[in-house]
Symmetry: C2
Subunit: 244 residues, 2 copies
DNA sequence: CCAAAAGTGTTCCCGTTACACCCATGC
DNA sequence: GCATGGGTGTAACGGGAACACTTTTGG
C-alpha cells in the first residue's frame, strides 16, 4: 500500500437532514426553498457544507438544521440515514452528502429562527408526488427516509418520538396509521402497546374531551426496541379471482 | 441562504469495506495489514481514498477491494454500512470514510491478486477481541458490520449469500448458527426455509457423503425478503432463581 | 444391522386478529 | 338517555418450539 494522500481528489462534504413529523393528519417533512442556483426556488432538504475541518458530522447536521429552519435537534432522536455520492448529483462540483434522519414531535416550532423564511412542513405525499420537483437527488433521499421511518416504528418505540411529551394511546395509534397509511384496530392496538413493557409509562392523568370517555395519558418509556415487533398489516392482496 | 462553497473545508473522503464470509466454522472478516503509518503493521479494513473526483462511491469500494485483496465484488451483495467521520479519527488529517458491507461465499479466493500479500480472513471474534488492536475506529466499524449481518439474515435471504452456488439446508443452517452463535433445531429449520417461497430452489441433485442420508441441493431463490422472518432465538435469560 | 444425517408428523403454546361487549364522560 | 370514544373478554387462527418418528445412505 502506497501513500496516496498527495493525490486525494477534492470532494466537498455536505450534510442534509430529513426531519419528519406527524401533524395535521399527515406524515410531513421539513423542506426549504433554495435561494441560490442550482435549483434556485426549488424545494430541498435543509443542509449544507461542513463549517470547518474539525466539525463532527452530527454537529454539522444540528447546526445546519438550526441555521436553516430554527429547529433544535438537542434531545431529539436522529440517526444517520445514508450517504449519497453519485458523481453527477451536483452540477457545480463533486459533492458527497451524509444524510441524517430525525423524528420530531408536532410542537417543534416549524420556523422559529435563523434563515427560516423559506422553511416549511410539507406532507410526505406531496414531496414524493411526481409533480413535485426537489433539488438534486433529494426525492430519492425522501423516499429512503420515509421507508426507513415506516420500518423503524415496526421494531422500535420511535413512533412515540412523534408525540408530545404526554400523549394518549389514540395519539400514538394515529402516528402508526398515518406513517403506514393503514388503519389499525384501536382495541388490539391499545392492548399491545400498554402491554409492552417499557414502551409507555402512565402518568395517571387523563384527557378531558368534548365527548367520549377520557383517555389515560402516557409518557415515553425507557424501552427502545419493541418485543415483539408491531406488525404492519399486509397490504390487501391483489385479487387473484377473476371479475368475469 | 448564502453561497458558502468558497469556504468549504478540505475533507478527505475514503471508502472502507467490511467483507464478511463464513468459513472454517466461523464468521470471518477480511482484514489487511497496514504498510504505512499511522497504525503501520496493524490490522485494518481494506479501503482507501477516491481515485478521482468523478469516481462513484460504489465503484471506489469495488476498486479498493480488488486492489488490496484481489477480491471481486461484481455480482455479490454489498450495501452501505455507514459513514464514519469523527473529527479526530485519523491523526494525519480530517478523513471521512463511507463504509460498505459485503457478504461473500467461502469460495471467494482470499488473496488472489493485487496488493494482497497482507490480506487475510480473520474470525470476527478475533477481530473484536479486546486484545486485538485495529487501525483507526475500525473495531467499531467491525462491530457495526457484524451486528448488521446478524440482524439482516433475520428478515432477508442474505444468509444464502454466504453459501456456495449450490448448497444444502444444513449448509445454510450452519451459516445462521455461526453468525448468530446460537444452535438451531435442524428439523424446524428445514421446514421453515424449504417452505418459504422464493428462498430456495431445488436443483434435484443430492450430496453424497460418508454417512447419513444424502441432502438435497438448492440454489438461491428469487426472494430477497423473508416472510415471515427467521427469529433469532432469545439469548438464555439470566437465571432469576437463587443458587443458594 | 447399526450409525448418522435428512426430513416428516404431531402437539403445545403464544401472539395476533376479529369482534362482542362494557366503561366513562359530555350533552 | 344517547352519542362518542376508551378499554376488556374471548374465541379462532397461524406460526414457532419441541420432539417422536421415518427415510436414506455408508460401513
Amino acid at each position: 500500500m502506497v501513500d496516496k494522500s498527495w493525490k486525494i481528489p477534492e470532494v466537498a462534504l455536505a450534510v442534509d437532514l430529513a426531519v419528519l413529523t406527524v401533524r395535521a393528519g399527515a406524515l410531513q417533512i421539513m423542506l426549504v426553498e433554495r435561494g441560490i442556483e442550482p435549483y434556485r426556488g426549488k424545494l430541498a432538504l435543509p443542509g449544507g457544507f461542513l463549517s470547518d475541518v474539525d466539525e463532527n458530522l452530527d454537529d454539522a447536521a444540528s447546526r445546519e438544521l438550526a441555521e436553516e429552519t430554527g429547529l433544535e435537534l438537542a434531545g431529539l432522536h436522529f440517526e444517520q440515514l445514508g450517504t449519497y455520492g453519485a458523481a453527477n448529483r451536483d452540477p457545480r462540483r463533486r459533492v458527497v452528502t451524509v444524510c441524517y434522519l430525525a423524528f420530531v414531535p408536532e410542537l417543534a416550532s416549524p420556523t422559529a429562527g435563523g434563515d427560516a423564511r423559506s422553511a416549511a412542513w410539507v406532507p410526505a405525499t406531496t414531496a414524493l408526488d411526481q409533480r413535485t420537483e426537489l433539488a438534486f437527488d433529494h426525492k430519492k433521499i425522501v423516499e429512503d427516509a420515509v421507508e426507513r421511518a415506516r420500518s423503524k416504528i415496526e421494531y422500535t418505540t420511535l413512533a412515540a418520538a412523534f408525540c408530545a411529551p404526554e400523549f394518549t394511546v389514540a395519539d400514538l395509534r394515529q402516528v402508526y396509521e398515518l406513517v403506514w397509511d393503514e388503519p389499525l384496530d384501536p382495541r388490539n392496538f391499545n392492548r399491545k402497546v400498554t402491554g409492552t413493557e417499557g414502551f409507555l409509562v402512565a402518568t395517571g392523568a387523563q384527557t378531558s374531551r368534548q365527548s367520549g370517555r377520557p383517555a389515560a395519558l402516557y409518557r415515553r418509556g425507557p424501552a427502545h426496541l419493541l418485543h415483539p415487533a408491531m406488525l404492519r398489516p399486509p397490504p390487501p392482496k391483489p385479487d387473484t379471482t377473476r371479475t368475469s
